[in-house]
């Protein structure tokens, strides 16, 4: 997994790239959670994420819940087909903010 972050005003867009599994979830959290804790509106761009497993889904849930806790939002942008399939299998399409 690789990533880059672009910040504009209070919006931080995290572009994630590659495959997100248990091996990289800590790295993903280290990037996303501090932005959420800083009360940024975080946009996770998932266009280039080719694979995500239950560990990756956990990162999305944790980020979403942390955002609710601190009073901001995490939006999922340009979700790849394979990631969307997993989100839907977990029945989270009504829970997470899908754009």
């Amino acid at each position: 997994m690789s990533y880059n972050v672009k910040e504009e005003g209070n919006i931080a867009t995290v572009y994630l790239n590659g495959e997100i599994d248990m091996d990289v979830t800590e790295s993903a959290k280290e990037v996303i959670l501090p932005l959420v804790e800083a009360k940024k509106e975080v946009h996770l761009n998932l266009k280039d994420v080719q694979y995500m497993d239950s560990s990756g889904i956990s990162v999305l849930i944790e980020s979403h819940q942390k955002a609710l806790e601190v009073g901001t939002t995490v939006k999922l942008k340009e979700i790849s087909k394979s990631v969307l399939k997993v989100i839907m299998m977990a029945k989270l399409e009504q829970v997470l903010n899908l754009d």
């Binding site: 495959e19 599994d21 248990m22 091996d23 694979y51 497993d53 239950s54 560990s55 889904i57 956990s58 990162v59 849930i61 944790e62 819940q65 394979s82 399939k85 997993v86 299998m89 977990a90 029945k91 989270l92 829970v95």
Partner: protein, 139 residues
């Protein structure tokens, strides 16, 4: 087309990518898997992850291997997982309720959604032997 392939992997999160590559290569061998290839790879990766995460919980730097056997015969796909981690009690394996939104507990749910049968069996020389089965007769 019959398939029977087996591979050993170090018990480590870094093996998960290799596990997925192994599964993808096998499912590329026949068009029968085309429509469900991603889901099958996910089920296999989740089961391998469960070995690392649960059977080897609190055991770091193990030199143990886990073995994955994939076979396809008479339209039945069988995937066997063998490990020497902590013995698993199948009765304790439960996925979380989907309306209880919290991180974790989804891997087992995915496996059960994707596969037709998920059972633990005995295997000489191993502590755990998980078998996932999917029938392709009606596909």
């Amino acid at each position: 087309m019959d398939i029977s392939e087996s591979k050993d992997f170090p018990v480590h999160t870094k093996s998960l990518r290799e596990v997925r590559d192994f599964a993808r290569e096998i499912f590329d061998q026949s068009p029968i898997f085309n429509n469900q290839k991603d889901e099958l790879v996910l089920a296999i990766a989740e089961a391998a992850q469960n070995i690392v995460k649960h059977a080897y919980k609190d055991i770091s730097n193990t030199k143990d291997i886990m073995q994955i056997k994939i076979s396809f015969k008479d339209n039945e796909l069988k995937i066997g997982f063998y490990d020497k981690g902590k013995p698993v009690n199948q009765e304790n394996i439960k996925h979380r309720k989907l309306d209880d939104i919290k991180p974790g507990g989804l891997g087992t749910f995915f496996i059960q959604q994707i596969m037709d049968e998920v059972v633990f069996k005995e295997a000489t020389g191993w502590h755990n032997h998980l078998v996932l089965t999917k029938n392709f007769n009606q596909q």
